[in-house]
């Protein structure tokens, strides 16, 4: 059971309070009715599924109810950071920094 920091509740909570909600930062086109078949396939089905640092959405469904985003290492399951829905995707540098901070915290 993962231990996930909810950016709205501002503390770590056990995974069973949350529901995973798929890959993050997949933007729903504003011209939905007009996109091509390729774009539709991309939007609906194509996923990064990276073996490494991933961006994902969670909902604190049995807590504050908010959707938020999470950066996690899909190989180790270490959660690197969480941030509120609508906030920009963290840059590589920000992620590096967060990883370092986590390492220091443990050491």
């Amino acid at each position: 059971m993962l231990y996930i920091r909810c950016p709205y509740c501002e503390e770590y909570r056990p995974e069973i309070e949350f529901r995973h909600a798929g890959e993050a930062h997949i933007v729903r086109p504003t011209n939905m009715a007009e996109i091509s078949a390729d774009e539709m396939e991309e939007f609906l089905f194509i996923r990064e599924n990276k073996r490494g640092i991933i961006f994902e959405r969670w909902r604190h469904i049995h807590g504050c109810g908010r959707f938020f985003n999470c950066v996690r290492d899909a190989v180790t399951d270490q959660i690197i950071m969480t941030y509120k829905s609508g906030e920009p995707k963290p840059s590589d540098a920000e992620i590096e920094k967060a990883i370092l901070a986590l390492k220091e915290e443990q050491a």
Binding site: Y8, C9, E10, I16, E17, H62, G63, C64, G65
Partner: protein
């Protein structure tokens, strides 16, 4: 005899009572409840209309008086969501109607029901099924949170050193009550 066409209220856990060593488990009396949704900018004003300041710190609650259940309470549920509790006859919606803020006021007096846990082992009854940290340092008196108990969603509100007010949806209350009763065995 009551007017035959006047409906009477029947609580889902009427008549139940349970407990174990160091804990009693009691269904709470009828209450008025509102699910309140307010935007940041209106929090203060709405709190004024309500006569209870809406807490903005996660997992905290405010009360208008000093006795849980007998006065109006506002529990932080989410960043724009509060659970407002008051006695059965209180009209919370009417109080809120005084505010002009854009908000959502939904009566959930009957959706939820509450169970009161009391006693030194009360917290251990909760720990049997609640995965959240309920230790004193992170869940002090006044703390409240929507969370899980076994397979039901609940709101746990710590109303005293050894007292907890647990809200759940009415159809889950039988389960929650039974869960607590079993958890109270052999603590």
């Amino acid at each position: 005899m009551a007017n035959p066409t006047q409906a009477t209220r029947k609580l889902p856990l009427d008549g139940r009572l349970a407990g174990g060593a160091g804990v009693s488990i009691t269904p709470a009396a009828s209450m008025s409840r509102v699910s309140l949704r307010v935007k940041d900018k209106d929090v203060k004003a709405v709190g004024k209309a309500l006569c209870v300041a809406l807490p903005i710190k996660p997992k905290t609650s405010n009360m208008s008086g000093d006795q849980a259940g007998a006065s109006r309470s506002a529990l932080w549920i989410g960043p724009d969501e509060w659970l407002i509790l008051d006695g059965e006859t209180a009209d919370i919606s009417a109080a809120l109607a005084k505010s002009k803020a854009v908000m959502s006021v939904v009566d959930i007096s009957h959706r939820n029901t509450a169970i009161l846990l009391e006693g030194k082992n009360a917290v251990d009854v909760l720990r049997a099924g609640c995965p959240q940290n309920l230790n004193d340092d992170v869940f002090p008196v006044g703390a409240c949170s929507r969370t899980i108990l076994g397979k039901a969603e609940v709101v746990i509100w710590r109303t005293g050193a050894v007292s907890y007010h647990v809200e759940c949806w009415r159809s889950f209350s039988g389960y929650v009550f039974k869960f607590m009763s079993q958890a109270a065995k052999g603590l």
